[in-house]
Subunit: 224 residues, 2 copies
Amino acid sequence: MYVTIPTEFSAISQNNTFTSLTTKSTETRVKAGSYLYYEGDDVDWLYQVTSGVLRLTRLLEDGRRQVIAFGYPGDVVGFPSDHVHHTDCDVLVDATLQPYRVSVLENGDTDPLLHKELLQAALREISSMQDHFMMLGRKSASEKVASFLSVLSDRVGQNLGDYKQMNLPMSRADIADFLGLTTETVSRTLTQLRKSKIIAIENVHTIIVLRPTALLGLSAGNTL
Amino acid sequence: MYVTIPTEFSAISQNNTFTSLTTKSTETRVKAGSYLYYEGDDVDWLYQVTSGVLRLTRLLEDGRRQVIAFGYPGDVVGFPSDHVHHTDCDVLVDATLQPYRVSVLENGDTDPLLHKELLQAALREISSMQDHFMMLGRKSASEKVASFLSVLSDRVGQNLGDYKQMNLPMSRADIADFLGLTTETVSRTLTQLRKSKIIAIENVHTIIVLRPTALLGLSAGNTL
DNA sequence: CGGGTTCTTGACTATCTTCAACGAAAGTGG
DNA sequence: CCACTTTCGTTGAAGATAGTCAAGAACCCG
């Protein structure tokens, strides 16, 4: 999951795994805290998230970290470059994954249908990342946090009458490293949103969006 | 071209167009200032840059701009998502392009060899963009500018004895919008680098790297 | 319950942006 | 080809946004 321009949302297959003829392995379960792969590992499998949440990260030698993406149901993670992984990937919330052999992506003959779907997933990935650039490069702290909450509530929020509730399984540090901020700034921005009654913080990891439209406005640059 | 982690450079086909059997159209020439496509356009062609420089941009309604990438020789631009372009693309420096039908990417049957090469290009794109995230989200102004110059000098710099000379065809505003900075900050940072004798500014669009190692160090976080 | 981690908040600081002015470069039209 | 205009780049001063450092509160887990 990246922070994309909200209006561009399309109903892509977020809750079904891809069709496949032969090259689909059985679904696997992974526990929170375990790693799927590390940067530099050879790529054998791609994984489509069925349930749970993954975290893709990159590290700089001096410890600075960038969370590249969160893997939510529907997302495909593990796209290789030169057969090698270029991020670490670990499990934030117990997850079930549908593994696909990377050879299916690299060789169209074995399973043409699945090959096409994986290719489309890769292309969507590129497009989503382009949106995310805009956010990292050009948005303010409050716009970033508002965008993040907006996207997340659209994707995994549960309707609660007029409001939308959502779980934030990741830490404030994860959000900060995803948005290019510090934990303190994320925390302060959330407090600001709470004080202006746009969100309510049920508990640290549960947020209720009280005014979705206001949140969306903020994410596009309206001043708080 | 993205700002990638410098040590990861690999000798990918930057100066040859891909092999192809049938679906390769003739090379086309495009003039500086012309647009290849706009955001929202249907995608019919991918383009591999043979010579010249392209610029891929995205705009926010309020005018804020993000330069997504510069297209240098070897780069492939125009990857679609849902058959639609998600950036604008225009020509910075007169260019020659090798167009490939997007159907070749989307359908592996017509030209399997070319299909594979385009797919690999898309996967490299994803990996490069991941690196670029780190830069946008976690690097300081001087690290960003140093990274940018470092990558560019590696890719298109001309050896000049111990030094490397390179052309910056893009404006300061382009560099700023690429790195998530303002033109003023880019300008000031370049002046700083000049005053500390790491680069020389031959003229506004020509820069000589006097101390490549120092520049690389800066890009990784060494203080000026 | 206790110890460690995570989150929040405050005070202060640094970095980058904004606003403004000026000079250099590039484009335009006579 | 030169004068004029406009755009682009650099620099300075002031201000704002986000970062740093520090302390206490809340939360989590055994």
